[in-house]
């Protein structure tokens, strides 16, 4: 058996397409993620908002509002205002040079084109101006004999973030990537099936006329696949952790166990795809790729709140999606100290693998070749 083992190793490692899908591609994709997201934190920091203020009489009379805009643009750099007439303001907005303009009439009006973050901030600033003004009025009316109004700390923050200090959700992209890489390990499963099922390849026919038990050979191929895929997963993790500096939490052993369980799940899915139809290897790999992409999509590889959406609306879909399980398990390692959610998902992953293997086994047992 040892010689089959060694040769299967050689075959798998020399088959470039296998190594590409299971290692090179995830590494390349991870690098793209990193490129795309490395500056996101920076860009989430506040950008100065371009606005226009209509420079009419009402505005010039309103010293306190004038002062507010000045303070917000010079002291705090929230706004980058242009003081223009109404026509100019309209055309600036029309041509997307500004996010919105402020017009003082009886009330203060905010003109915008869409409902976005910048627009909300403009509105909120104006709202706050009104509300503080109203409050000051109340105070003055209440305290007829008020000597001096205390106006300090109007923008205090009363809230403190204790979210584990880990607020980045960017990491989930990388977690789905691990899930995707695991399922791509299915190419090894497909290969193992094709090399051992005589209705799928001539090489397998050769094995079937030899005195070696077919299951034994399939098993050896799968063990080899598992070792390679597991090693590749560790390399991928190593790359993400050490080179791209992605945070995977500090619990190494659960991480390694998950990488192993993920490899197992992917390969078992590949075996089932390999056994489920008699199409060519190209087509089987095509099916694996499409299914993996779909599951990764649903787990949030392209949109980060996809997984939450699925969990909220179609929870069953999130519960049977192995990429989602791996992502959640990894995220819980990163986000929580206890391992409850990790174990839940690890367990789901094991059940998934078990189901795949059971169905494969049933197909395999039933198989009798009526044609080759």
């Amino acid at each position: 058996m040892s010689h089959i083992f060694i040769n299967q190793f050689k075959i798998c490692l020399k088959k470039k397409s296998l190594i590409f899908w299971t290692l090179i591609f995830p590494i390349a994709l991870g690098t793209f993620f990193n490129l795309a997201f490395s500056n996101i934190d920076e860009s989430e920091k506040f950008k100065t908002i371009d606005i226009a203020v209509v420079n009419n009489e009402k505005f010039n009379e309103n010293e306190s509002f004038k002062e507010l805009i000045r303070a917000l643009s010079t002291d705090e750099e929230i706004f980058n205002p242009q003081y223009v007439n109404l026509e100019e303001a309209k055309s600036l907005l029309d041509n997307n040079k500004i996010k919105g303009y402020i017009l003082l009439e009886e009330k203060i009006k905010v003109f915008v084109k869409e409902n976005g973050l910048s627009q909300t901030i403009i509105k909120s600033v104006v709202d706050n101006f009104y509300q503080v003004g109203s409050a000051v009025n109340h105070i003055i009316l209440d305290k007829q004999n008020l000597k001096n109004l205390v106006m300090e700390d109007l923008n205090r923050n009363y809230f403190k973030d204790v979210s584990n200090e880990k607020v980045s959700s960017i990491v989930t992209y990388f977690y789905t990537l691990i899930g995707m890489a695991c399922l791509y390990g299915g190419v090894f499963g497909i290969k193992a099936v094709i090399d051992s099922e005589s209705n799928l390849s001539k090489k397998a026919a050769r094995v079937n006329v030899s005195p070696v038990h077919k299951f034994k050979l399939l098993l050896v191929s799968l063990v080899v696949a598992l070792i390679i895929q597991f090693t590749e997963n560790l390399i991928l993790l190593g790359y993400l952790i050490n080179i791209l500096k992605i945070d995977f939490g500090n619990q190494t052993l659960p991480l390694i166990i998950l990488a192993g369980a993920g490899s197992f799940a992917g390969i078992s899915m590949g075996v089932l795809i390999g056994l489920s139809n008699k199409k060519s290897e190209d087509t089987k790999v095509g099916i694996l790729m499409s299914v993996t992409m779909a599951l990764s999509f649903l787990a949030g590889m392209m949109i980060k709140n996809m997984r939450e959406l699925v969990d909220k609306n179609i929870p069953i879909l999130g519960q049977i999606n192995p990429v989602s399980m791996i992502t959640k398990a990894l995220y819980s390692l990163y986000y929580y100290d206890d391992l409850n959610i990790y174990f839940q998902n690890l367990f789901s992953l094991i059940i998934f693998t078990f189901v795949m293997i059971t169905i494969s086994y049933i197909i395999l047992r039933r198989k009798k070749y009526d044609s080759i």
């Binding site: 397409s17 591609f25 390349a28 793209f32 993620f33 490129l35 795309a36 997201f37 490395s38 500056n39 860009s43 989430e44 041509n95 997307n96 009006k109 003109f111 915008v112 084109k113 869409e114 409902n115 627009q119 909300t120 509105k123 909120s124 104006v126 709202d127 706050n128 509300q131 109203s134 409050a135 109340h138 105070i139 209440d142 305290k143 205390v150 106006m151 109007l154 923008n155 009363y158 403190k160 973030d161 204790v162 607020v167 980045s168 959700s169 190209d282 087509t283 095509g286 099916i287 499409s290 779909a294 999509f297 392209m302 949109i303 709140n305 969990d311 909220k312 819980s332 409850n340 959610i341």
Partner: protein, 378 residues
């Protein structure tokens, strides 16, 4: 017509896989577009908030009423809070410290600890208006207004709001760019996959037939192949037009919708040229798949198909400029905020389309050069 029959044969051989691709990417696009259609209007979505250790003081009661007005309060047992946060059942957990009202009214500046879903707009927004309440309360408090009074005052204060006027909202599909930016991924993946699959098989078939029948001229055959590829590309284009109509109804037929459709057409033609290049010079299907996946996913991430360009960092966008996808996506973003169809506004859009077309031309020329070199080598 040998080219035609061969072509149909190949399509028949791979129809399952092609159909699978079409269905998956169409579904991806639909889901992507519909999630973003909701998410973009982020103020409309009320966050789910869980509150721990609620006090029974008048100030707190009034604060709670205010919170309820702007968000959904979710009742969750304390030990399930972490799970709830993890599963996004709550967006924000507020942990009110003991004696909060007292400390607050005695100017001890107590802090409310919170946990939240990372980077969620709705929780950021919630914190902003919650702070506003407390700041107003503080203003009254430091000016020695009693608890009972300030509660009533704040209620009135918070009704004061600015008036927001939306200009020309009717004609615009502000979210249409999400669908069309995402199409960078789906259009490229679908088109290149189908083209390269068809072309590599086609070449094999033709080589087989060459032994039996005198071949039609290489040029003619290549031209016919190009026409068929064009048909596939246009079919993919059509799918996305239909999807656009499905989502944005008649708004797809106004000036803006038509510009989006035109922009996509220009991009599709460039993708056709890329697909032709790959299909012509790479025979191995596995290598094709590899290249296809790297190109489509790679450009989608760094050019802003998944994550909007305005969120991407400067340095990434500098790299992104060497791909046609960047200009295509940038154009979508420009088109959806277009309200004034004057030369100043249209010029950059037309220039971007030109750049995308130039890319297409470039790939076509590279294709021709390689063909020429190959012929010479023979």
């Amino acid at each position: 017509m040998i080219v035609f029959s061969t072509f149909l044969k190949i399509i028949k051989k791979y129809y399952g896989l092609i159909l699978l691709y079409l269905v998956i990417f169409t579904i991806f696009s639909v889901i992507f577009a519909s999630t973003n259609k909701q998410n973009n209007v982020f103020t409309a979505k009320k966050p789910n908030i869980a509150i721990v250790n609620m006090e029974d003081s008048p100030l707190m009661k009034s604060f709670l009423t205010y919170i309820k007005k702007n968000s959904n309060i979710v009742e969750i047992a304390k030990e399930d809070l972490k799970d709830a946060l993890f599963n996004r059942k709550v967006d924000l957990i507020l942990n009110i410290p003991d004696n909060f009202s007292n400390d607050f009214l005695n100017n001890k500046n107590p802090e409310i600890k919170f946990e939240r879903v990372p980077d969620s707009y709705s929780s950021t927004y919630a914190l902003m208006y919650l702070n506003r309440y407390l700041n107003l309360a503080n203003l009254y408090n430091i000016n020695n207004i009693s608890e009972e009074k300030l509660i009533g005052y704040i209620e009135k204060d918070l009704k004061e709001e600015s008036e927001v006027v939306f200009i020309q909202k009717a004609e615009n599909n502000y979210t249409a760019n999400y669908l069309y930016n995402f199409s960078n991924y789906s259009v490229m993946a679908m088109t290149i996959m189908i083209l390269s699959l068809v072309m590599s098989s086609f070449k094999k078939e033709v080589i087989k037939k060459r032994n039996m029948i005198s071949p039609i001229s290489y040029k003619k055959q290549n031209r016919q192949l190009f026409v068929f590829n064009l048909i596939i590309t246009l079919a993919v284009w059509l799918i996305f037009i239909i999807m656009g109509i499905f989502f944005f109804k008649t708004a797809m037929f106004n000036r803006q919708g038509l510009l989006l459709i035109l922009n996509l057409l220009v991009f599709c033609l460039t993708v056709l040229s890329i697909g032709f290049l790959i299909g012509n010079h790479i025979q191995n299907k596995e290598v094709m798949g590899a290249i296809n996946n790297v190109i489509t996913l790679g450009t989608s991430f760094i050019c802003g198909a998944f994550v909007p360009q305005e969120i991407l960092g400067e340095s990434v966008l500098r790299i992104a400029k060497i791909f046609p996808s960047y200009w295509f996506i940038k154009n979508n973003d420009l088109i959806v905020i277009l309200t004034n169809y004057n030369i100043d506004n249209l010029k950059p859009i037309i220039i971007n389309m030109g750049i995308v077309l130039l890319f297409g031309l470039l790939f076509y020329i590279i294709n021709l050069i390689i063909l020429r070199l190959k012929l010479k080598a023979k």
